[in-house]
């Protein structure tokens, strides 16, 4: 097995560039790659015009919020932004675009991207604003929406445990969108709370197999503040 452990600096410099589409794991705090995101925020001039795909916009002052604050992001694709009123203000002021997608369909579109499925047909969102602008298909007398696959250039995800080859495992509710994002991008950087030797993880219990992973980097501490805050 290849050894994919490196530093966050090396990983970001090698794989992340301006104008990319970047998937960022996490729901609330769990799974958010705070360490990798901080490096990108700390080098704001080098990483700009990004499109982010993330469940939520974090909260003001936390996680990807810094990237919005510093004008590094042109567009966010998300499911829920309610905990970041500053992001909502920027969106309303036209500083950043935002596309909102129902959460399960958001996950399915990413899965389709990772699994080589160009699109799915779904009834989710019929009769709501979600229909707007979407192509439709009649199947067995039902009208369905065509939801196209999403792919990214880079996935940034945070695991609880990863081996040096990139096999990764999540605790509790931290897994959320991390695994599926890890399947859907050309490059995948896993920051891990704990990096273990190859052979340590039980093969049946690996959530994301190493074949998807390009770099494993040590995760720094979680940001300060209320640990419960999303």
């Amino acid at each position: 097995m290849l050894d994919r452990v490196t530093t966050v600096e090396n990983a970001v410099r090698q794989y992340v560039q301006s104008a990319q589409t970047i998937m960022v794991g996490g729901f609330g705090r769990g799974g958010v790659p705070f360490t990798t995101v901080k490096f990108i925020a700390d080098h704001a001039n080098e990483y700009r015009n990004l499109t982010l795909i993330k469940n939520d916009a974090n909260e003001p002052g936390i996680g990807i919020d810094a990237l919005f604050r510093q004008g590094q992001v042109n567009r966010l694709i998300a499911t829920h932004i309610g905990l970041n009123p500053e992001f909502i203000r920027r969106m309303n002021d036209g500083e950043v675009e935002c596309e909102l997608i129902p959460q399960g369909i958001f996950a399915e579109k990413i899965r389709a991207g990772g699994a080589g499925i160009p699109a799915i047909l779904t009834d989710i969102g019929l009769g709501t604003e979600v229909e707007a602008g979407k192509r439709k298909f009649e199947l067995n007398g039902r009208t369905l929406l065509v939801e196209e696959a999403l792919r990214g250039d880079v996935a940034l995800i945070r695991a609880d445990r990863a081996d040096r080859a990139g096999n990764a495992w999540w605790r509790g509710s931290n897994r959320n969108m991390c695994v599926v994002m890890g399947t859907a991008c050309k490059r995948v950087i896993v920051e891990a709370n704990e990096i273990v030797d190859v052979g340590t993880l039980t093969p049946e219990n690996i959530h994301l197999p190493s074949v998807f992973v390009d770099a494993v980097v040590p995760a720094g501490p979680l940001p300060h503040g209320d640990a419960n805050a999303a």
Binding site: F27, G28, R29, G30, N55, D56, A78, T79, H80, I81, G82, L83, I88, M91, N92, L100, P102, Q103, G104, I105, F106, A107, E108, R111, D123, I124, G125, L126, G127, T128, E129, V130, D160, W170, R171, G172, S173, N174, R175, N176, M177, C178, V179, V180, H207, A227, N228, A229, A230
Partner: protein, 224 residues
Amino acid sequence: MPRELTVNERTLLARAAREVRHGMVVNLGIGLPQFLPGYIPDGVDVSFHSENGFVGMGKGDIEGTPDSDVIDAGGRACQVVKGAAFFDSLMSFAIVRGGNLDLAVLGAFEVGVNGDLANWKIPGKLTPGMGGGMELAQKANHVLVISHHLDKRGRGKLVGQCSLPLTAPKCVGTLVTERAVFRRLEGRMTLVSAHPDHGKNGALEGIDADVPVADSLENWEGAK
């Protein structure tokens, strides 16, 4: 959370808890629904589903020590019971859309007499995103909305037609307020029970719509 519940809230939560049956898989929306577990009688064994990735959520502040790696969909640290399973967002919504979520308990801005639900967006004011709400509303086997009977301007949450963007059309199965229980029967939210303090008139107060009324109202306390 945590906050003090009002008398009305406690009344509607106690009534709503009677809608929960032994063995159900239940998702709780953010807000009032999160208080529901405290009102479910002992012996009614329910599996709580959290759409960010598990079933078997513990009863919030009621039991156990919160674990910051186990958050509910509102971002609140909680914990799991024995027999819980963690999974990713894909499996979580497969459970919802595939017909394995028995009950979604949701809040509402408006419920249409036809069962339409609006609870995710107030144009120009509130644009938080739908999160998993659309799928919960559209795909749970039963949708129970719990809500104050009247909004802040004294208008009933049950309306002739929703004016706000829909979360999902014709999805609400039951609406429980502190005054009334409405069930969607033959496609229309029908008054089936009224709180004894309010009676049928109070149960329809503030509702500017033609609401069907069941021939005989269920007893508030003894309802199945």
